[in-house]
């Protein structure tokens, strides 16, 4: 850490070089993990790649075996596999009749919308609740908020989804049960966007409640910690209004650990997205993973594993960047 910090001071460009190196390392590492997972599966890799159960012709199977060099030593096989991965060739899904990378690209936007909405909801509501709890520390408001956060923190996302469907779709009939659009309505433009938004509410809230709990606890804790620091006493002494201190001085500094947490959480939010998309039939990566699972399309599943890991690295790079904007003292690293 200290060594890399030193290098960054020499040349800011080094930082991006290091990040790219990290990305390459992750891709190669996950290729290794995937390669061995594929070998663990019953049957040889060609059968797994072809989606099992004779989805492909014998000629194609022979071609696959040749392409991946299954008759050659292990390191040659791995070399070929890695070569394919690095050329973004994640294979072909016979079940879906499309290249894996294209399938993933098609489904990525839906997941991005879901994750973006859920993270925004969790951030805004979580910081607000944490802020309120910290301002009323030790009083009933604080206790109620803390207990709610504790409960959400322990509730499985899929169960939240099921309960929200029962309450808001079945009993109250306010919001749709699932899907992303009302297909038969054929909306365009603004009506279409509103329709998607209506479908988005329940999945985004479901996925966001767990993180809302984390952000609430974290905001409350960091705010209370910052309240004990000297610069706050200075602000109080020079007569800054309490509300202004809470927002401008305390909350702003309390946001930093939340941004860090966000970066650490991307992987687990993606995991939650699989469950939420399954519950609400949201047509994203998670739903694709579930379909792959159901059809035993293991190569597609491993392709999604690879793509989401890359996504985690990319988001973390973005988080580093945001961190630098929030706190100019922080050097990216």
């Amino acid at each position: 850490m200290t060594a890399s910090g030193f290098i960054q001071r020499l040349a800011p460009g080094m930082h991006w070089a290091r990040r790219l190196g990290q990305l390459a390392f992750i891709v190669v590492g996950i290729a290794i993990v995937n390669f061995f997972l594929l070998r663990l599966a019953p049957g040889d890799a060609a059968e797994v790649l072809a989606g099992e159960a004779g989805a492909a012709t014998p000629e194609f199977m022979a071609a696959l075996r040749q392409q991946f060099g299954l008759d050659q030593p292990l390191y040659v096989q791995f070399g070929k596999y890695l070569g394919n991965v690095l050329r973004l060739n994640l294979g072909y899904s016979f079940r879906q009749g499309m290249p894996v990378s294209q399938l993933i690209g098609d489904r990525l936007p839906a997941t991005a919308i879901l994750m973006g909405a859920s993270i925004t909801f969790a951030l805004v509501a979580g910081t607000a609740l944490g802020f309120l709890a910290a301002r009323r520390a030790g009083r009933p408001t604080d206790t109620i908020i803390s207990v709610i956060a504790l409960l959400f923190y322990a509730t499985p996302v899929f169960w939240i989804g099921v309960v929200l469907i029962v309450v808001f779709s079945v009993w109250l009939d306010w919001l749709p049960v699932g899907g992303m659009t009302t297909i038969e309505a054929g909306y365009h433009g603004t009506a279409y966007a509103l329709d998607v938004a209506r479908h988005l509410v329940l999945p985004a809230v479901t996925l966001g409640l767990f993180n809302l709990a984390i952000y609430t606890r974290l905001t409350r804790a960091s705010m209370l910690q910052i309240y004990g620091q000297d610069f706050i006493r200075t602000a109080v002494a020079k007569g800054v209004a309490p509300g202004r201190i809470a927002v401008r001085h305390v909350l702003r500094n309390a946001l930093l650990p939340i941004v860090t947490m966000l970066g650490m959480q991307v992987g687990s939010i993606l995991g939650g997205a699989i469950l939420v998309e399954t519950v609400f039939s949201w047509p994203g990566l998670g739903r694709l993973a579930f379909e792959a699972l159901f059809q035993r399309d293991l190569n597609l599943l491993l392709g999604i594993l690879m793509a989401s890991s890359i996504l985690v690295v990319v988001v973390n790079i973005a988080v580093d960047f945001a961190y630098g904007l929030l706190d100019p003292r922080v050097e990216i690293g």
Partner: protein, 287 residues
């Protein structure tokens, strides 16, 4: 569960004094919930001796309508109460054993990396970062899908994906203790590295590891139930997540089938989290 340690770090200082009184309450509440669940799990074979997956009554008996089936029956006429109690055994077993697997892998990685430092440390930590980058639930899902769903496969999948935070925790503890006088004394006496790590350093790093372990068991139970919900549970045992998943089909009319088992998951996870929180302050862990 890297977020837990960060939460702890932030919650440590300022709130420490004030939270003392709350501490015993949370440890106590968590302990009581867990004892109740353990009692239910222990009583399951006596209260419901048969296979909880067997059909015992007519389907769709609502909770509270038939005293013989206090929580009702599902769409296949299976007793929900029996399923929940037997499910507790499975969930706790998987949570416990999977966490043991994580402890062995994470403990070994962390201890060796922290003790030897240098290139060993670098290589082990890069491997840890790699596993940490792969979304854990998706990773576990792929492993179970490939190994075929069974209790051992689920244990392996959760154990293999949950260890990185422990490796970091143990490494940090070892780094802190490594230069302590008692360790230096052992080195000068000529004790083997294995002996020093196992009998000198690790016992002193136990407190934070125990706290982490209780949170990890909670996470493992959540992961197990999520896998079962998606249909990746062991088909031969009752599982809370599996019951929720199966009940989804009749959600519109008989919503109790999908929702009741979820309450058991919440209770178990909440109990373990509260216990972890309470232990954290009782054992006075500084992170």
């Amino acid at each position: 569960m890297g977020m837990i340690s960060s939460l702890r770090a932030a919650e440590g200082g300022a709130t420490h004094r004030r939270s003392r009184s709350r501490v015993s309450t949370s440890a106590l509440t968590g302990g009581v919930i867990l004892v109740l669940i353990l009692a239910g799990a222990a009583a399951a074979p006596f209260l419901y001796p048969g296979d909880p997956l067997d059909m015992v009554a007519s389907p769709f008996i609502w909770p509270g309508t038939d005293p013989a089936y206090p929580l009702g029956t599902d769409m296949l006429g299976r007793d929900i109460a029996a399923g929940i109690l037997h499910g507790a055994r499975v969930s706790l077993l998987i949570g416990l054993v999977a966490t043991l697997v994580s402890l062995v892998i994470g403990g070994t990685f962390g201890a060796v990396a922290g003790f030897y430092g240098g290139r060993t440390d670098w290589a082990l930590m890069r491997a840890t970062e790699l596993v940490q980058t792969i979304p854990p639930f998706l990773f576990a899902l792929a492993i179970v899908a490939i190994l075929q769903p069974s209790v051992p496969a689920i244990v392996i999948a959760i154990g293999l994906t949950a260890w990185p935070s422990l490796a970091r925790l143990v490494r940090a503890e070892v780094l802190r203790l490594r230069n302590g006088d008692f360790v230096q004394a052992s080195i000068s006496v000529g004790a083997s590295h294995r002996r020093i790590i196992l009998f000198e350093i690790l016992p002193n790093a136990l407190a934070p590891v125990i706290v982490s372990a209780s949170i990890l068991i909670a996470g493992a139970i959540l992961t197990e139930s999520s896998l079962a919900f998606l249909g990746l549970g062991d088909p031969n045992v009752a599982s809370w997540g599996g019951m929720v998943g199966a009940g989804r089909e009749v959600l519109r009319t008989d919503w109790y089938i999908a929702t009741l088992p979820g309450l058991a998951i919440i209770a178990a996870v909440l109990g373990l989290n509260l216990l972890g929180d309470g232990l954290n302050d009782l054992l006075d862990v500084r992170r």
